[in-house]
Symmetry: C2
Subunit: 403 residues, 2 copies
């Protein structure tokens, strides 16, 4: 009586029918081999967190206020955590009322909520070339039309942005959204220069495009404070997302979104429909940590750790891959490398893995097949000696492929 | 140069432009007054949880395996928690391989993922009359066409379901999904009888409709074990969602979905695009709790607690509101009450609140304006003496309105 499952499969929505597993899954599984140096995943190195302190905080919170910490809460998030988030974003010069913070299940959920609140199928979104793979997933789930805009060592290029906006206007489709990672971009490792920030906002304002500023790496600069956030320069025009995943730890699954009020209220309703509320337990632990621990000092230690790792990678690249080119990140987790002789990074990946190093091929960061001769090196997780070994193995694999 | 925000508001998606804050928010705020007995929110009463044990678990996990617990994880969820979920659903006779469990941020996210994976705008979904308000929110966010199917004391009525399916078929629109809460339904407090389970599945199979079985109250029956889950009776035809919110606590934000493989793989990809992964911290604590604590005994104590509260409400209703009618739940959190003389529950709510009692008006549980003379009484959170006082106040408010 029951139909075969292939009949029911026809019930899939257009979105679900169109999504496919990325090749990254296989890559990450292979990279779990302890012999392999994985430069693939953007996992923060958490060893240096104050574990005793976090453990005591969690214990005390459950003993002192368990029934409220483990209860349902408001969709907007706990007041103490929203105050903590306001402190964190103040470090990058962003003054915000805790009441205007919407706490999310990581900044990934923030991106998803913004996409759902703004995009109908076929709407155009501008993204950097390359861009964050997780943003591409969110935009694909909304069936958006994705257009890439070139970047260089100073971030998104305003001339390329203006050209993209003009071209879209001529075609009768004004983009709704410009998605950018302005500090230590994932995957390119570049930062949007100050004068370009003004130029980008000016263009967005002229064309009536909202800017989605995804800024998880703002506090991870290796030489001095972050640049002014786009949202601080044009709050009416910019939606800002952030995360505790890189400055504290991903396992809390806590991020946030700051948005103009007309949008924030909608995001909150969508968040409620999606997950009811963020976890009270992780919110309470994170809030207490931010309120009672010298978290700025912990972030400073993260910066020192990642600076040392970047230096290991850049120094070894100079020796091992002189024929390639790469970005020189001023913070964050990533180096973006262009292979010599138009070598294909996807084709090279199995040989690199066999040599004992994993990376993410550049095409993962494009919706249009770009980036074939490029790749991302994430230096955040392995210790420096392993990074050196990984880059050496990459050099070996590249030299073998060029023969 | 920047446009006014009312220009940018035109960028909202069709979904976001159409959602509006529910009136429930105001109600829940008013119900926070300590004088008011709130029968509005379905919050579990958590006082009896083993707090020392949970606190020690959390502390030990952070000390012993902090760097893995607070790291990113797989979208499917941790293996230890998937094994724990398999144990929990086994209590309701559902045999499942842990590999087939998809962990979600509460069952609310599970509902949202299923809706996104199946529904295009305008697709028809059948729901009970009344139905869970959070499901209505999820379906509205997919712009589904919602049709209600009558229920009675034995749950969803197969005759009404067949009539709805026939009517839809005549109109050329086969529903994609039937959403049901088969045990101790929210808000009606009724359970789908065993013979009706077979009848419902038979109809779903004949018409090629997938059944979404939302079953968070299955283990909270007051007299004996749960009935066979729909999924155990027809695994190819049924998507099953569950939650730790009612058997452990909501603040973990952990639920799950069990689905046919063609759907599960899509749900996992959508989950990854939405939140990357569930919280490693709450997953690890919950998994350790399920593996090392006598959680079945804790659920038994929850059952005793809620049975006593239900008895307080039913006994007091007999005395205070003899002119009304109501369901007599065999488990779960809710009594569904029909007011006498066609009194309007929404109109009555402010007077009831002034008398010191809050409830959710019945129309919240309908997408079509139904339920105006009905209301939901949640007896889960207040202690018995407060429940008695709340029902007395409700009686006073109803008598005053009938004069």
């Amino acid at each position: 009586m029951h139909p075969a499952s292939h009949d029911l499969e026809a019930l899939l929505s257009g979105v679900a029918a169109g999504i496919a597993p990325s090749e990254l899954g296989e890559l990450f599984t292979a990279a779990e081999d302890p012999f392999v140096v994985s430069l693939a995943g953007g996992m923060p190195a958490l060893g240096g967190l104050p574990w005793e302190r976090l453990a005591d905080l969690a214990r005390d919170l459950l003993l002192r206020s368990g029934p409220s910490v483990l209860q349902y809460g408001g969709a907007r998030g706990r007041g103490d955590l929203r105050a903590g988030v306001a402190d964190v974003v103040a470090e990058q010069g962003l003054a915000v009322d805790p009441d205007d913070v919407l706490v999310t299940a990581g900044s990934q959920q923030a991106l998803d909520l913004v996409a759902r609140a703004l995009l109908d199928p076929g709407d155009t979104v501008l993204v950097e070339a390359p861009t964050y793979v997780g943003a591409l997933g969110v935009l694909a789930a909304q069936r958006a039309r994705i257009e890439h805009v070139a970047l260089d060592d100073d971030g998104l290029r305003p001339d390329a942005l203006e050209e993209a906006l003009r071209r879209a206007a001529r075609a009768g489709r004004i983009p709704k959204l410009l998605y950018t990672v302005p500090h230590h971009q994932n995957p390119a490792g570049v930062t949007l220069a100050l004068e370009r920030r003004h130029a980008v906002l000016d263009l967005a304002g002229r064309y009536g495009v909202l800017v989605l500023e995804d800024d998880p790496y703002a506090l991870l600069g290796f030489s001095g404070p972050p640049l002014p956030s786009l949202r601080s320069l044009a709050p009416d025009l910019v939606v800002h997302t952030g995360s505790l995943s890189k400055t504290l730890a991903p396992g809390f699954r806590l991020g946030w979104v700051l948005a103009p009020e007309w949008l924030r209220s909608r995001l909150e309703l969508l968040a409620e429909a999606t997950v009811l509320c963020p976890s009270g337990l992780t919110q309470a632990v994170a809030a207490e940590y931010l309120a009672t621990t010298d978290w700025r000092n912990q972030v400073e230690r993260y910066r020192d750790q990642y600076r040392e790792r970047r230096d290991s990678v850049l120094g070894t690249l100079d020796v091992e891959l002189p024929e390639a080119t790469w970005t020189r990140p001023g913070g964050g987790f990533y180096v973006w490398l262009t292979l010599p002789d138009g070598l294909d990074a996807t084709t090279l990946a199995p040989a690199a893995l066999a040599a004992g190093v994993a990376y993410v091929p550049g095409s993962a960061f494009f919706a249009d097949g770009g980036g074939r001769d490029q790749l991302r090196l994430a230096y955040c997780f392995p210790p420096p000696d392993r990074l050196v070994e990984g880059i050496r193995r990459l050099g070996t694999a590249v030299r073998a492929a060029r023969r």
